[in-house]
């Protein structure tokens, strides 16, 4: 089971770490912190508990997801939600678990000391991803994201997509022809 904790209280209780401690562990500038079986975002008050994949793997997967589909205005939480399905699948399917764990290990190895997440520039990480673009691992991660990232209703407003409109009476009185700059 993967749980995404949304409230500070929740992760503090469940994981039993204070915010200060978290920041200490993560060091300055670290976006995601590993604690026990969870990936935690101290700054944004959410945590994600893994069941099959290593939490480090999950943290790297979240970073890779952002590097594959980088939207600077989309918070990490949505990338975490987008990749958590891999943990669920891994719990049921050992082959999938191996695909992801090995794929991430490979990325970390290529990245050298400090691993994939230790690379400071997006370009450096993207170069590694480009190298493995054709692999089943990359395709599984990228392919899954197309739906799992962009089909989250919560991210639609960030892109200016309004979603369902029938219940609001369509756009006939809500701007279907409101363009003014032409």
């Amino acid at each position: 089971m993967v749980t995404v904790y949304e409230k500070k209280l929740v992760y503090e209780k469940k994981v039993g770490l204070s915010r200060r401690e978290l920041l200490k562990r993560g060091g300055v500038g670290a976006l995601l912190v590993i604690s026990g079986s969870a990936v935690i975002s101290p700054e944004h008050a959410w945590g994600l508990e893994t069941s099959a994949l290593k939490p480090e793997t999950m943290a790297t997967l979240i970073q890779a997801a952002r590097d594959i589909y980088p939207h600077d205005q989309v918070p990490d939480k949505y990338y975490a939600i987008a990749v958590k399905g891999h943990d669920e699948t891994a719990a049921k399917d050992p082959a999938h678990k191996e695909l992801i764990e090995k794929g991430i290990a490979e990325l970390d190895k290529k990245a050298g000391k400090g691993g994939y997440r230790g690379l400071g520039w997006e370009e450096q990480r993207v170069a590694l991803l480009t190298d493995i673009e054709k692999t089943p691992f990359f395709q599984a991660v990228r392919g899954g994201l197309v739906v799992s990232l962009y089909n989250q209703k919560e991210v639609w407003p960030i892109f200016g997509y309004e979603g369902e409109s029938y219940s609001k009476g369509g756009y006939i009185a809500r701007g279907f022809n409101d363009i003014e700059w032409l």
Binding site: I68, Y69, R142, F159, Y161, Y166, D178
Partner: protein
């Protein structure tokens, strides 16, 4: 009251598929007092069940049974098991469709004569002319409520249309308007007018857009001569020793095989399933499948030369608001070989929601070049290219050698190679579309590759001579008198226009023919 017919009733007309062709034919025959059973593979979802959500709606309505692909078309690489985006549900693809309803042009019925010899294309003329089709086109437009005909006003233009129109004016295009749409611009036929919801592809919850689901089918049922049997997947058509068809075998809702007897069988499963079924109905008498003495069943698969152009502007557009496809430029639809290709293409407004845009803008794409496009989703405008593609023998539907579906029927493989004419046309259209948006100030444009096929045509084509095709000018198979084809697979060539108005027109015409033959007792 909807009828209910016995499996052993061999006086009924059995129609396979309830979409544009099958649903229309079923109602037309029922109106004439002829008993009809429509067998439909999909479930029956009524309009209140439709979902304003792209993936959820796709899951609800689309044909997702596995198919395989081959050939050099990009769909085979990006969507190897989804060659077509069509529907498995009562109403067929008329639940998903956008409503663009255009008559073919006169020369398009004479493709071989007009275009001359095109290397690598298997062109023949249609056995019908525009003049013969016109009275039936008029009936179809009246039935479907096509805007811009019968004094029905055109739809109001949405934001996406306004951008298209501004660009068309800049490029000097003359024929640009909100189209001929089978969408109510005014209340009629006991149905709402369009509320500009923007989910035309997901089933119109207002019922403003024509679909056999809530027009033809209930009207036919009300006569007491039509039964629609959902969740009924036909896997074989049976025949007797004389070669006449006698009934069909189908898997029912519980997966049990049943046989429905029939006086006449009409196949309308869309252009992948219809030939698949004919091929799978092989017997010792017809070793290459039914109606296939010419060897043309499954061949000449066409999907229109398509592509999209999306553009980003420095100011908002909100293209997804309002009718998805109410906007067209027709100037490029003419035949003008000086452009470097035969035939022509239409440009029509199109928008996708964010989830489908992510899936289709550049399948397989990733990184900032891709994501910065989506970052400006609400500043995007878009158009769809739909042009005539060339029929080719090697573009075809075949039965998979090993893989079978849940009923034990071999799955379909769809092979498609672009013809050089298709590529030249697509490139021309990309250039025009990009120039059009640039003229309105686009800061970036995207020549977007074709989606899985929404228009599927030609795999049981009409021909004057039996050796050139599968059916005659009435959709009656050349080989078997009481076997008809009633969907887009009858198309002899593709024309530039969206196909459904012509499918409906042919179905109305075919109903007259079947009724006349039945009373003359020739079938």
């Amino acid at each position: 009251m909807a009828a209910s017919f016995d499996l052993k009733n061999d006086g009924v007309v059995v129609i396979i598929g309830s979409g544009a062709g099958g649903g229309t034919l079923g109602n037309e025959l029922a109106q004439k007092g002829i008993d009809v059973v429509i067998l439909e593979a999909g479930a029956r979802h009524e309009l209140e069940d439709f979902i304003n959500d792209e993936w959820d709606s796709f899951t609800q309505l689309a044909w997702k049974d596995k198919r395989t692909t081959s050939g050099d078309w990009r769909v085979a690489k990006d969507f190897p098991n989804l060659p077509a985006w069509i529907v498995k549900s009562v109403g067929g693809s008329t639940t998903h469709w956008a409503g663009a309803s255009l008559r073919f042009q006169e020369h398009e019925f004479k493709a071989a004569t007009t275009y001359g010899k095109v290397k690598g294309a298997n062109l023949v003329d249609w056995p019908v002319t525009l003049a013969e089709m016109e009275p039936y086109y008029a009936k179809a437009e009246a039935k479907m409520g096509v805007t811009g005909t019968n004094n029905w006003p055109r739809l109001p233009g949405n934001n996406n249309f306004k951008v298209l129109k501004a660009g068309a004016d800049k490029l000097g295009y003359k024929e640009c308007h909100t189209g001929n749409m089978a969408i109510n611009s005014v209340e009629r036929d006991d149905r709402n007018s369009c509320q500009q919801t923007g989910f035309c592809f997901q089933g119109c919850k207002w019922g403003a857009k024509w679909s056999t689901l809530y027009t033809e089918i209930p009207k036919g049922e009300a006569t007491g001569h039509l039964e629609v049997r959902p969740n009924s997947m036909v896997i074989k058509i049976n025949h007797d020793a004389s070669g006449k068809v006698t009934g069909v075998v189908y898997g029912d809702k519980d997966g049990k095989l049943q046989e429905q007897k029939a006086r006449i069988v009409a196949v309308a499963g869309n252009s992948i399933e219809s030939p698949r079924l004919l091929l799978n109905s092989e017997s010792s008498k017809f070793p290459h499948g039914l109606a296939n003495s010419s060897g043309q069943v499954g061949k000449n698969y066409m999907r229109h030369t398509t592509g999209s152009v999306y553009a980003i502007f420095d100011k908002p557009v909100h293209m997804y608001r309002g009718t998805t496809m109410a906007g067209i430029i027709r100037d490029e639809a003419r035949h003008d070989p000086s452009r470097g290709f035969v035939g022509g293409y239409e440009m029509e407004t199109l928008s996708l929601g964010l989830p489908f845009m992510a899936a289709f803008l550049n399948p397989g794409g990733w990184g900032r070049s891709f994501t910065t496009a989506l970052d400006h989703y609400d500043h995007m405008a878009g158009l769809w290219i739909v042009g005539e593609d060339m029929p080719r023998e090697e573009n075809r539907i075949t039965l998979h050698k090993d893989e079978k579906d849940e009923h034990g029927m071999p799955i379909a493989d769809v092979h498609f190679d672009d013809h050089p004419n298709d590529e030249a046309m697509r490139n021309h259209a990309y250039k025009q579309g990009q120039a059009l948006y640039a003229a309105v100030g686009a800061t970036r444009t995207f020549p977007t590759p074709p989606y899985p096929s929404t228009h599927n045509l030609g795999t049981n084509r009409m021909s004057e001579k039996a050796e050139d095709g599968v059916v005659n000018k009435h959709g009656q198979s050349h080989d078997i008198k009481n076997l008809f084809v009633s969907d887009g697979s009858q198309f002899t060539s593709g024309a530039a226009e969206n196909p459904t108005l012509t499918i409906v027109t042919l179905a109305i015409r075919q109903a007259d023919y079947i009724a006349a033959q039945m009373s003359a007792k020739t079938i």
